[in-house]
Point group: C6
């Protein structure tokens, strides 16, 4: 796995926080399936399937909740 | 992806917060499947399928939890 | 979509809060599938299928968590 | 639906709270499928299917989180 | 159902808390399917199926969140 | 099961916390399916299937929420 890919949960604003949530969601897939070749092969499958896209959005929502809490919802 | 699509999690009232939750849910799908053509092709599939509609509602519920917390449930 | 359907997350008691959670769960489905005709056609499908009923209950549970937090669990 | 089925989220102890979580999980199914006849017909289906049993346990876990928070984890 | 199976959410340490989360996850299945015979028959099915194992791990994660909160993450 | 596999939820930084979330996600699978032989047999199945990979990422997201909360988001 990459050496250092997550330095902090703190982001500049909400949109950056959302992009971090997407990154967190993808990293778990990398950890479970380290082979880039296999990931590339199955990527079209999940990116063109309604059920998988919705499930991906659920993972992002869960991670975004964590990131938003960490940043006190960017209210400070 | 769009330049700036998320400025803040703070909304005027609960209903606007719910609509932001829907927007957050859809953005993750855009990030995973950037092709508008493919998204339009699969949209009828997930909007006419009970299982996918319920799963979509689950994503909105998770994002709404985040937005509602950010706004202190619009109690202030 | 309806003009004003969500005024507040605050409810009189826990049971009213639960009913609001059900309403929130259904609204996401309306947003994703605005056609009442299609929704009516698929309704029997998800209301008579164990997996869909359980998934619906999961959405309600998530929304109820939000509503219960908003109301400080009706302890005040 | 029943007149009054939920008076409070406060319970005597953790086990009672868990049983309330189960009740909350079942009520959503009653709201979605009000016909007792249909519910009885599909009950064996979901109670004998591993995937549905696990999904049911997920709903209970989410509701139990809400009930446990409401009771300050029965630490008072 | 068993007379008294849950005395407290407080555990000695994080690992005990994790084991309590597993117990909570299993109890919901017992409540939904009280017949030990049927549970034993479907157990191999869900313990040898990738999708069911991951779903089980999701339930444990949700219950562990509750138990960890109850114990203030074992930081006291 | 292993004697002592979880000492604390506190980690040095966010990335270590994420790795702990992955460990927590895997342990539930070990508890449900203690046979290493069977786990090894089904591993390729879930690591090469889009739906299972996304579901795994969901479990990690839930556990990461718990670990991040335990560490006050590594802000101290």
């Amino acid at each position: 796995m990459e050496d250092k890919w997550l330095n902090s949960l703190i982001t500049k604003d909400a949109q950056d926080g959302y992009e971090l949530a997407i990154k967190l969601s993808r990293m778990a897939i990398k950890f479970t399936q380290p082979s880039e070749e296999i990931r590339n092969k199955i990527r079209p499958e999940y990116a063109s399937n309604a059920q998988n896209l919705i499930a991906s959005s659920q993972v992002v929502a869960t991670n975004f909740n964590t990131v938003a809490l960490a940043n006190n919802f960017w209210k400070d």
